[in-house]
Symmetry: C2
Subunit: 323 residues, 2 copies
């Protein structure tokens, strides 16, 4: 049974709705479930009509369901603060200002959001022992997935650094026979310890994502969304991550059979086009379609959420596709 379930897909396809519906389904099946939202628009708050923050909070009126919202802006600030604190411990006061400027510069680059968010994901995964199921309303893509290759890079970097420092220590000991102070310092080297820590975090992330996580992609029945989904599947495959199934969301409902008029004609044509796209999805992907969810007239919240949950053929117990 996978503890972590991710619903990926491009902005606007309905990831948050599907994630909240699946989390509700898990909770109602008796699992202690946490839904983690990273949507800057904080739509989890809309779905449950309740404010959430960075700490898991029980969803009112639901049993065994908790939610938290991660704010990318706050994560970047927190990230900068931590690096600053660690640097200040390790360097002389004279260059603190210079380093502050460099840290701020680094956090102005695009991607600082994604990196900080991914760090927070890892943190949530490490400390999620209280929950049977953790549902994320997004899934690592492009740049973030490439971070999973970091351990190999860091490994080489650490090895070369350790080799250089060991050589220095050897020379020092030859000069000052019997003095083991330098070797002790090497064992405690804060930079090497930090790199080692990073490497282990990303190794943990890679392992957890590969062995204890299930990924679903949310797709809309239009060409653009299909193309983007193909791309996402390929990007994930590059990192040995498989996709469990596809959730087709925003499917237009059909009119009555005998219905006539501008509206019925439009709907009928639209339904026919979407039917072609859904057939294409079933043909083009090896991954099964685990739900076709109809567009609702209003935003999905309250009782509508339970209705959407019923349409998801994803087994709450196994985090996998229902037989």
């Amino acid at each position: 049974m996978e503890q972590f379930v991710f619903f990926g897909g491009k902005g606007g396809v309905g990831k948050t709705t599907v994630s909240c519906a699946y989390a509700l389904k898990c909770a109602e099946a008796g699992l202690d479930t946490l839904v983690v939202s990273t949507d800057p628009a904080h739509s989890t708050a809309d779905v449950f009509d309740q404010a959430f923050d960075d700490d898991p909070t029980a969803v009112e009126g639901r049993e065994r369901l908790w939610a938290m919202e991660i704010d990318p802006d706050e994560e970047v600030e927190r990230h900068m603060g931590e690096i600053r604190r660690r640097m200040n411990e390790q360097v002389s006061a004279a260059i603190v200002n210079e380093i502050d400027r460099q840290i701020e510069l680094a956090h102005r680059t695009p991607g600082a959001y994604e990196a900080a968010l991914f760090d927070r994901f890892i943190e949530v995964m490490r400390t999620a022992d209280d929950y049977d199921r953790v549902v994320f309303d997004t899934s690592p893509t492009g740049g973030t997935l490439r971070l999973l290759a970091l351990p190999d890079f860091l490994e080489g970097w650490i090895e070369r650094l350790v080799a250089k420092r060991t050589k220095s220590v050897d020379l020092f000991e030859k000069a000052a026979v019997g003095d083991r102070e330098a070797r002790r310092k090497l064992d405690e080297d804060p930079l090497i310890a930090h790199l080692q820590g990073r490497k282990e975090r990303f190794e943990f992330a890679g392992r957890t994502l590969r062995d204890e996580s299930a990924f679903f992609l949310v797709v809309n029945p239009d060409e653009l969304s299909i193309r983007e989904t193909e791309r996402a599947v390929a990007e994930m495959a590059e990192q040995d991550l498989g996709v469990e199934g596809l959730v087709v969301n925003r499917v237009t409902p059909a009119p009555d059979e005998d219905e006539q008029g501008r509206g019925a004609t439009w709907l009928r044509d639209r339904v026919a086009t979407e039917r072609e796209r859904i057939d294409e999805i079933r043909r083009a992907f090896d991954e099964p379609v685990v739900a076709e969810i109809e567009s609702r007239v209003r935003e999905v919240k309250g009782d509508l959420l339970a209705a959407v949950a019923d349409e998801l053929a994803i087994d709450a117990d196994a985090g996998s596709v229902e037989a």
Copy 2:
């Protein structure tokens, strides 16, 4: 008259369709127009049913209309190649391997895409003299917008670097009276020249985006899209970039007045919900709504594109809202 027009908005709202429709409108008004697409799904190719690449190519069957597609993957590769080449000219062969690893590491971070794309945007803006109008199907957001603050950071960095090197040269000249060689070297310093070049590029980008560009945001009539648009307007305002107008896309058509049945009921409720959202958009934003574009039954291409272009109340001549 702004030469550059950007259509921003989250994924899936229909930026490429609106951009291509507006570019067509400009071309038909007699302007030599280039549409620049950065969509990894390359939907410009679908809209015009023609393949495009990194070089502007005439759109078949249309006058005065060119299109190009920028591939973020290729841009990252090109970016890495350039940095490598420059580094290899400046450093000893012994550390080239180490630098290669560092460059590759840097390009594995999230955001490398956005940074490389923005560089390419600047390049397009610098060399677009042949076109009266250049239309981008995306607009800088979050991380990329923060790059506009780079010139100030680089300025301080360059100043400190020049001061340090000048001091070294002064000392050198005191020791070797009359030898001006070191001072000449300082004037030609490749690192300082490179930083200076970066600074000027980003200054050019900031100036061009602020003074010669018009920004429109594409929004769908739902709460999530409205919230995301508010966020985008605020992010742009932080960098002194104003939004000219909002394009409401994917508006559901109404059924006939006397139409009855499941389809008519669904459409009527849906239209009513969207009407509330559009009223909210008109209330919540200072920026005018310059178009309400109905959802089409099929993907917008061919003749449909001209129909959509007609619905855009954006003046082709002025790149601003029609009176």
